[in-house]
């Protein structure tokens, strides 16, 4: 019932599910991710419908995409998923300091990914692949940009959680928030795996 049902230092094994509020938050977030799946599913459908609509004289995906750069971005983002797992593991064993370190590393990797994406977009625009160039470019920037916006939001969010944990410590109020942010981070990683496959690999060879 109460948010203060634990004694300091004796965190329950799964602190994110120790209170009804926490359980609601985790369940509600799973449901939210269900909605996000439809959101990205629709964006993917739109992209697949339009990806060959390049128009005359505009660069195609084969000419545009550079797999080494995208592979590096993928590697960075997937690693950040691993570090967020370590953070949640540390949370479950009540090692607050270790958890914070892993979260900070996650945020840094996320920011690194964003940096590469911004560079990539900048590069494409100089190749003549602007947002308004063709149906392909509009759907490309919308899909990949939506994902990028999700990453940016996640970076901001987890940073705020780190600050909060520094001030308030780990308890049954902050634990569900961190756990849920971890779920979010995995979700945007999974979406990226699909983007890597459907947008980049299929765009290069398919």
């Amino acid at each position: 019932m109460s948010a203060h049902s634990h004694v300091d230092g004796q965190l329950p094994h799964e602190p994110e599910k120790a209170t009804l509020e926490g359980r609601n938050k985790v369940l509600g977030f799973w449901l939210f991710l269900g909605g996000e799946t439809v959101l990205f599913g629709t964006l993917f459908s739109a992209f697949l419908a339009l990806r060959d609509q390049v128009g005359d004289g505009n660069p195609t995906s084969q000419e545009l995409f550079q797999l080494p750069l995208v592979a590096a971005a993928t590697f960075i983002l997937l690693t950040s998923s691993l570090t967020s797992v370590f953070a949640i593991q540390a949370m479950h064993t009540n090692r607050v300091k270790s958890m914070l370190n892993w979260l900070i590393l996650t945020v840094l990797l996320g920011a690194g990914f964003l940096g590469l994406e911004i560079y990539e977009f900048y590069h494409y625009v100089h190749e003549g692949h602007g947002f308004t160039t063709s149906a392909f470019s509009s759907s490309f920037y919308t899909l990949v940009g939506f994902h990028g916006a999700h990453v940016a939001f996640g970076v901001f969010w987890i940073t705020m959680l780190i600050v909060q944990t520094f001030r308030k410590g780990l308890n049954t109020t902050t634990a569900p928030k961190i756990y849920v942010a971890g779920m979010y981070w995995h979700f945007i990683d999974v979406v990226w795996v699909f983007i890597f496959t459907v947008v980049y690999l299929m765009g290069k060879v398919g």
Binding site: M1, S2, A3, H4, L20, R23, N24, L27, G28, L31, F32, G34, G35, E36, V38, L39, G41, T42, L43, S45, A46, A49, L50, Q53, V54, G55, F131, T132, T133, S134, A135, F136, S137, S138, S139, T142, M160, V163, Q164, K168, T173, K177
Partner: protein
């Protein structure tokens, strides 16, 4: 001020009722203006362009700003009570959902005063809705207003799913849940999976209109059929989102006023789930004439007709519930009983439309208009009226006047059938939908006149309901716990209106129709599942209101390309999110000795 900050689901239900009712009146007024324009051939009551705006705003308002909020009003007022919960899972988000819906709706209607309302139909088909053909700001208001309102709906859906899964009273298994709660559960799942698709469609259209993207711009490789797919993969489930809770209301009302257990409860649950599933499988039946090909048309035809099976199960279960019952014709039950044949008629024309070859004949005629008004007005609105008359005492502590209620029923019911029954024949005779006038001598005159008279009767019925509300609100609050005396479910075990903590002690549920079961064993109260103790309550908050205002401001900035205003609006919204996140709010407790007379004041 209290109403701006409330997080109490019962008060939010009342807010939804007021706002949804207000938009219902606006949408109804638009409908009556449409009918006045069409009452005789070559009428010039409104101009063609105004007619397009009226038509678009009537559809958009009724679906998004009237029907859905009125359903959310009933959901908020009833679902936590029916499952024996003290609250919803996310009281803060519940309030946020209301305010985003409200400001999205206001934004849409501001368009009337800002140089023209949306005029591309409620489906906003491209290229008609593209910047090329719809030059004014109208469709911009549509994409942004609906986007903001849609956020609210999505939040509401998630909230009810989590509430129903996590917060049922001890003993309330899924197969003991009241039928209305079941239908809300499935509807919420549909909302969760349908609204994000609409969000993407609206974003794409917004990008096309405001930032010169090419999703639907054929000159640059865009695809207009893509819009139709995205819109209907949302839009078809949407009609089931609307009708399923009405089914739930009808199940409750008919069972209560027949003094019988709902016939075939488990088949009702099965039918609800199946309708929810099939609702997602049939979107392309709106697109038979697009040219998807015979295979796609055949598959979507069959899938569509399949929906008649679970719907038929429901119809027969209602009939068998009434069969042999001792039926009381209260106003609520008259609406419920009137619903059954009306909805069957709407369903039958649905099966007719589901036949792809026949659809080539019916397509874009008044036959389609008649069909969907039979299911949405004859189904949903009759269901909402039934639910409002039934639960009004639980929401406000006062019984609505029965005589006025019956006047309302007969005016509305007669008016409805007058308006829409003849439209089937207008459609078969070839009168196209969405036209602002027609020539004399086509044989359309008389039936259009009848239709207009019917619409005015429906308006009078609505006025009778408003008078009823006014008269009722002047009477003392003296409704009993169980004012219909045949209440079967948990909401009738607590005072009318419900206290802010709902249940002083969480009830122990021992079977389906929990309260009825106790009554049959000679008790008049539930067995508590816990000792009397302090009750934890969430604190009220102004943040949801401010967050929604932030989105409202950002919407204007986007439309008029004032990026500073957009950013300022978003800063307000995100600032509130930030405040909410860092400021821990543990709520407050109501102690056992305060547990008396804390009813909702309205």
């Amino acid at each position: 001020m209290d109403w701006l900050t409330t997080v109490d689901h019962k008060k939010i239900g009342i807010l939804y009722l007021i706002a949804g009712g207000f938009f219902f009146l606006i949408g109804g007024l638009e409908a009556i203006l449409i009918r006045i324009q069409l009452w005789r051939p070559l009428n010039d009551f409104v101009s063609a362009s105004t007619f397009n705006e009226l038509l678009t705003m009537h559809g958009t308002t009724m679906i998004f700003l009237a029907a859905m909020p009125l359903l959310f009003a009933l959901m908020n007022a009833v679902v936590p009570l029916q499952i024996g919960a003290r609250d919803v899972a996310f009281p803060f988000l519940n309030s946020l959902g209301f305010w985003t819906f409200f400001f999205g709706g206001v934004l849409l209607n501001v368009s009337w005063f800002a140089g023209g309302a949306p005029d591309a139909g409620w489906t906003s088909y491209v290229p008609l809705a593209s910047p090329l053909y719809s030059e004014g700001k109208g469709v911009d208001y549509y994409v942004i207003g609906l986007q903001i309102a849609g956020i609210g709906t999505l939040i509401g859906g998630i909230n009810f799913l989590a509430t129903i899964i996590n917060m049922r009273a001890p003993g309330m298994s899924f197969m003991r849940m009241p039928m209305f709660t079941w239908t809300v559960f499935i509807t919420s799942a549909l909302i969760l999976f349908a609204f994000p698709a609409l969000a993407v469609g609206l974003v794409a259209l917004m990008f096309d209109r405001l930032f010169e993207a090419n999703f639907f711009n054929v000159n640059n490789g865009g695809n207009t059929v893509l819009w139709e797919h995205i819109f209907w993969i949302f839009g078809h489930p949407e009609v089931y989102i609307l009708i399923l809770p009405a089914f739930g209301v009808i199940s409750e009302v008919i069972s209560t006023f027949s003094r019988k257990r709902l016939f075939g409860y488990s088949s009702m649950v099965f039918a609800t789930v199946l309708i929810g599933f099939l609702g997602f499988m049939v979107w392309a039946h709106h697109m038979f004439t697009v040219g998807l090909g015979p295979v796609a048309n055949a598959l979507f035809s069959i899938a569509t007709m399949l929906i008649a099976v679970p719907t038929g199960i429901k119809i027969f279960n209602w009939l068998f519930t009434m069969w042999g019952g001792s039926i009381r014709f209260t106003t609520a039950n008259m609406f419920a009983v009137g619903f059954v044949p009306t909805f069957v008629m709407g369903g039958v024309t649905g099966v007719m439309l589901a036949s792809a070859p026949a659809d080539y004949q019916y397509h874009d005629t008044y036959f389609v208009v008649a069909h969907f008004h039979y299911v949405i007005v004859g189904g949903l609105i009759l269901g909402i009226f039934a639910g409002l008359f039934y639960w009004w005492p639980k929401m406000f502590g006062r019984m609505l006047n029965e005589t006025l209620g019956k006047i309302c029923f007969w005016l509305f019911f007669t008016g409805f059938h007058l308006t829409f029954f003849v439209q089937h024949f207008l459609g078969l005779m070839g009168m196209p939908r969405r036209i602002y006038t027609y020539l004399d001598g086509l044989g359309f005159n008389n039936m259009n006149l009848i239709s207009t008279v019917g619409a005015i009767l429906m308006g009078l019925g609505t006025i009778a309901f408003l008078i009823n509300i006014v008269i009722t609100s002047m009477k003392p609050k003296n409704a009993a716990y169980d004012p219909w005396e045949d209440g079967r479910t948990l909401e009738w075990t607590i005072p009318s209106p419900a206290p802010e903590y709902n249940f002083a002690q969480t009830p122990l549920v021992r079977g389906y129709d929990a309260f009825w079961k106790e009554k049959m064993e000679g008790k008049n109260a539930m067995t508590p599942a816990e000792p009397l103790g302090p009750i934890h309550m969430p604190s009220p908050s102004i943040l949801p209101f401010i967050m929604s205002i932030g989105l409202f401001i950002a919407g204007f900035g986007l439309m008029y390309h004032q990026h500073i205003i957009t950013i300022a609006g978003l800063v307000i919204t995100f600032g509130c999110m930030f405040t909410r996140s860092v400021k821990d709010d543990h709520g407050f407790h109501i102690e056992p000795d305060e547990l008396h007379d804390k009813g909702v004041k309205a």
